[in-house]
């Protein structure tokens, strides 16, 4: 699993970090984003919906998992 550490970074930076990491991710692979900005909980699923990627949920506080599907 690829980890993107965006802790301490304010929105929209965690989403930008996630988008920048995507080219290095294989289709089917999971990215875990660590983000403590409160907007990330809303904006990571919204990004997945807009970009056609799969949002897997938040396994623990301040962590969000996304599967690259395209």
């Amino acid at each position: 699993m690829i980890e993107v550490d965006s802790r301490g970074r304010r929105c929209p930076l965690p989403i930008i970090d996630l988008a920048k990491a995507m080219p290095g991710v294989e289709v089917g692979e999971v990215v875990r984003v660590l983000a403590d900005d409160p907007a990330a909980a809303n904006d990571i699923p919204a990004w997945c919906r807009m970009k056609g990627q799969e949002y897997l949920g938040s396994p623990e506080a301040d962590a969000y998992e996304v599967r690259k599907v395209r």
């Binding site: 929105c11 930076l13 409160p38 807009m50």
Partner: protein
């Protein structure tokens, strides 16, 4: 401020400075002005004058509606049911109350009527609140359907009409309604609370044994006169304004989606306020976009967390599950022209692109 509000305010400063509760001649003149203003507002909304109360702001009116409405129903129950997209003034009043139950909305910001029915019909529901139209995304709420559910269950419905009064017709079926004069082009210091006859309302404030709402202390009568005069003027123009602004909003919705990549236009495309549009731009800092637009002379709002004093994203955008960063809300008013809209649409794509480029996107 609407020009009629300005004229009425200046005239009322001359004639309406006295305390309308005094018996001397100036007081009686003030009283006549207050009665005329109350009658005007009552006629605009389609209620009786003794159902209308003026308060110092829309926020004060919302607090009075929630807390007074709950106090009046204390024997029936304790639960306050409200939509997830109420104005923060309503949510803060709800937080004062021990039992609140929130009802969600869908991706377009429309109330979940099934969940609303379950919440309103649950035992112990004292009061239900539904905003007439979302102040952030413009989606008009199914007030009449929600009111019918409340009526079936004997629960009074409070409608926050701050965003729609003066712009679109007043829906039917509510028990309490509030609005804010500044939102319809009146002065800032006037809120409106309407409590229908037969609805129990108890003052939540100390030192008051009147079972009828009234402002704490003396009222700002010249502003009330201006608020009433402008409401009448705005309602007379509302249909024509909606017909003029509706297509301009439609144009913004279409053009922004066409010319700005990675943008989400937010809110119901059809059942919406005629003068307001909201969209979110991916990878864009809302505050940076707001300042960039300001430099071009556009005053817009944002529901992004970076523009909020709380550093939290808008609870309305969260409840809808739509992108909260890069958020821009455009409200058109009677001075907005098609040329303004065209200029906005011409500069926006470049500003968004520049902010993205700076962030390396």
């Amino acid at each position: 401020m609407h020009p009629v509000a300005r004229q009425a305010l200046l005239a009322a400063l001359e004639d309406g400075w006295a305390d309308p509760d005094r018996l001397y001649a100036a007081g009686r003149r003030a009283q006549q002005l207050r009665e005329a203003a109350t009658a005007t507002v009552a006629q605009c909304i389609g209620v009786r004058p003794d159902e209308v109360t003026f308060l110092p702001s829309g926020t004060a009116a919302a607090h009075a509606a929630v807390l007074g409405g709950l106090a009046g129903r204390a024997r029936a129950g304790k639960t306050f049911v409200h939509s997830a997209i109420e104005h923060s003034a309503v949510l803060h009043a709800a937080a004062r109350h021990e039992q609140a139950r929130e009802v969600g909305v869908d991706r377009l910001g429309r109330l979940d009527l099934t969940a609303w029915g379950e919440a309103v019909s649950a035992p112990g529901t004292a009061l239900a609140a539904l905003i007439s139209a979302s102040h952030e995304v413009g989606t008009v709420q199914p007030i009449e359907e929600a009111a019918a559910v409340c009526a079936d269950n004997g629960v009074p419905l409070y409608v926050d009409a701050a965003q729609s009064l003066g712009h679109s017709p007043v829906p039917a079926g509510w028990s309490l309604l509030t609005a804010s004069a500044r939102k319809w082009g009146g002065p800032a210091g006037v809120g409106l609370l309407v409590v229908r006859k037969g609805v129990r309302w108890l003052s939540p404030y100390p030192g008051d044994d009147l079972h009828r709402p009234h402002a704490e202390g003396s009222v700002n009568l010249p502003e009330i006169v201006a608020a009433a005069a402008s409401l009448r003027a705005v309602m007379a123009e509302a249909e024509a304004e909606a017909a003029r602004l509706g297509p301009l909003i439609e144009k913004i919705r279409e053009k922004v989606a066409e010319t700005v990549p990675d943008v989400e236009i937010v809110g119901d495309p059809d059942v919406r306020l005629p003068h307001l549009v909201t969209f979110s731009c991916l990878y864009v800092d809302g505050e940076a976009l707001l300042h960039a637009l300001d430099r071009h002379g556009f005053a817009v709002s944002s529901g992004s967390s970076c523009t909020a004093s709380t550093l939290r994203p808008s609870h309305v955008l969260e409840a809808m599950g739509v992108l909260s960063h890069g958020n821009v809300r455009v409200s058109l008013h009677r001075g907005s022209t098609e040329a303004d809209v065209d200029r906005f649409l011409a500069v926006l794509p470049g500003l968004v692109e520049a902010i993205r480029k700076e962030a390396g996107m």
